[in-house]
Amino acid sequence: MTAPLLELEKVTIKFGGLTAVCDLDMCIGERELIGLIGPNGAGKTTAFNMITGVYQPTSGTIRFRQKLTAGVKPHLLSLRGISRTFQNIRLFSQMTVLDNVRTAMQGNRAQRVRDALLRGKVFREVEARVAGEAMELLKIFSLDQFHDSMAKSLPYGDQRRLEIVRALATQPKLLLLDEPAAGMNPTEKHQLMELIRFVQDKFQIAVLLVEHDMKVVMGICQRIHVLDYGRKIAEGTPAEIRANPKVIAAYLGTETTDA
């Protein structure tokens, strides 16, 4: 087996006396679709923030493409190929839909202050190419007809999709989705599942999905990690997770279920 894309080893983070995540081990291979679930406050988003460099683990190591990520700033991790969406949508609200996507493309461009000021031939070529690529991405997600609207004026579901498009614009190897189904109705959730499968297949990337909605996670993930109070209590295929008594206890309390 080839080396994993992302590797977490005994990752622990403490905020004062609170251990938010404790001894987390996790592996994500290329083009895998992994789920990370757990009750509220289990440490899922904290784990996300450590992977993307927002928080530094108190102990343990994270490797992305075999390189340690300790001390690397979020924007540099993004350039290495980790992209994400946010639990509470964080679009650039004062920009148009197209500009949101274009902005995310700028990290991989050679454009600098000088180019922007001189506005020469190279500059215009880069601008045209970036705009073209951004429109193409939007077209794939059929958001291109809104390219000139303000991001905040889109309907909620479209904002969620735009956030995914923006994340893809950074050309990631690993896409982290933080509760993408939050606030969606069953139809939208169904479309979202299709969309995630499509994205993973089309862009050939690995996806780590944090989600509350069991149906979504069970429906699309190849493997699932379950967190509870910062510790991993189970790992396995959706079928294994569904049958795992520890998971059932964490989610539903200790009563036995006969479903």
């Binding site: 927002v54 979020p74 679009l91 995310a104 700028q106 990290g107 180019d115 922007a116 000021l117 614009a169």
Partner: protein, 307 residues
């Protein structure tokens, strides 16, 4: 829009020189006010890059202006008299540039540590910095202490002030209207999301600060060579506030609006000279009414942010 920006710059500079050449046809007082307008446009547009586009609330713009003004004035005072009149415009340009670069370096030195702070905290630090600069000049004998510098040659004319205002508008608008420059607005909108998208927020904030300080320094140099006299009192906290008000009135992040606001707020106090005692009251009332009725800025109509 392609390629039109440079044409705009060229036309604006030619127009500024043209008006300047026939300035003897106009009333000297009006020309003076027009020059002041240009200087304030430079100040407001450059501050708008920091406060409006990048969203970092700075209250220290008068401080950068002072650095540029004192540097340029000192240079022309020391070396100016010995120069032949033919080289004086070039020397003036050089002095302005030195003033701008010094202000930019001070901006870098202040920006790197203080831009870790956000919102009110950054405002307080930059406010404190502006006062420190003023006090340094006030106590330095080299720079004339409390009396300031006097007898500065009056090099600034309409062409210098509006020509450089056009350059400022061009630089700020070009910066922001580019794939690179969208990073400024991204940092303003959501710093965490921006960094997750590969944008280095610190770099953008410092760039905005340094570019803003540079043009404030240039404006300071123009101001010094317009008034012929500068003293620390002219670069106090109120001057910074005045520039901030221009940015807010014009609409944060709207270059065109800020230009109009800078001109309006330069002319308004002149118009109100007749009722001098009530001038500040009218001015303050205007701002209160504006903030209550149009908090997004007077000239903020469009939906799009791009400058």
């Amino acid at each position: 829009m392609r390629g039109k920006e440079k044409l705009f710059l060229l036309l604006a500079i030619v127009a500024a020189i043209g008006v300047s050449l026939c300035s003897h046809l106009f009333n000297r007082y009006y020309m003076g006010v027009a020059v002041d307008c240009g200087i304030n446009v430079i100040l407001a547009v450059s501050l708008n890059l920091i406060n409006g586009h990048t969203g970092q609330f700075s209250l220290g713009h008068a401080g950068f202006m002072a650095v540029g003004g004192y540097m340029a004035a000192k240079l022309t005072l020391v070396f100016g008299p010995s120069l032949h009149s033919a080289v004086q415009p070039f020397f003036f340009a050089g002095a302005l540039l030195v003033g701008g670069i010094t202000a930019a370096l001070v901006g870098l030195a202040v920006g790197v540590p203080s831009l870790r702070l956000k919102g009110d905290y950054l405002a307080i630090v930059t406010l404190g910095f502006g006062e420190i600069i003023r006090v340094i000049f006030q106590t330095s004998d080299t720079f004339g202490a409390a009396t300031g510098l006097t007898g500065i040659p009056k090099f600034t004319n309409f062409a210098w002030s509006w020509g450089l205002a056009a350059v400022t508008v061009y630089v700020v608008a070009s910066l922001v209207n580019s794939t690179y420059g969208r990073g400024f607005i991204a940092v303003h909108d959501d710093e965490i999301a921006a960094s997750a998208m590969g944008i280095n927020p610190v770099r953008y904030k410092v760039t905005a600060f340094v570019v803003g300080a540079f043009f404030a320094g240039i404006a300071g140099g123009l101001y010094a060579h317009q008034k012929a006299v500068i003293s620390p009192g002219g670069f106090d906290f109120l001057k910074s506030i005045e520039i901030v008000v221009m940015v807010i009135l014009g609409g944060m992040g709207r270059t065109a609006g800020v230009v109009v606001a800078a001109v309006l707020l330069t002319i308004l106090p002149e118009l109100l000279r007749g009722v001098a005692e009530y001038r500040m009251i009218i001015y303050s009332l205007l701002i209160i009414v504006l903030m209550l009725t149009r908090p997004q800025g007077l000239f903020n109509f469009g939906k799009k942010r791009a400058a």
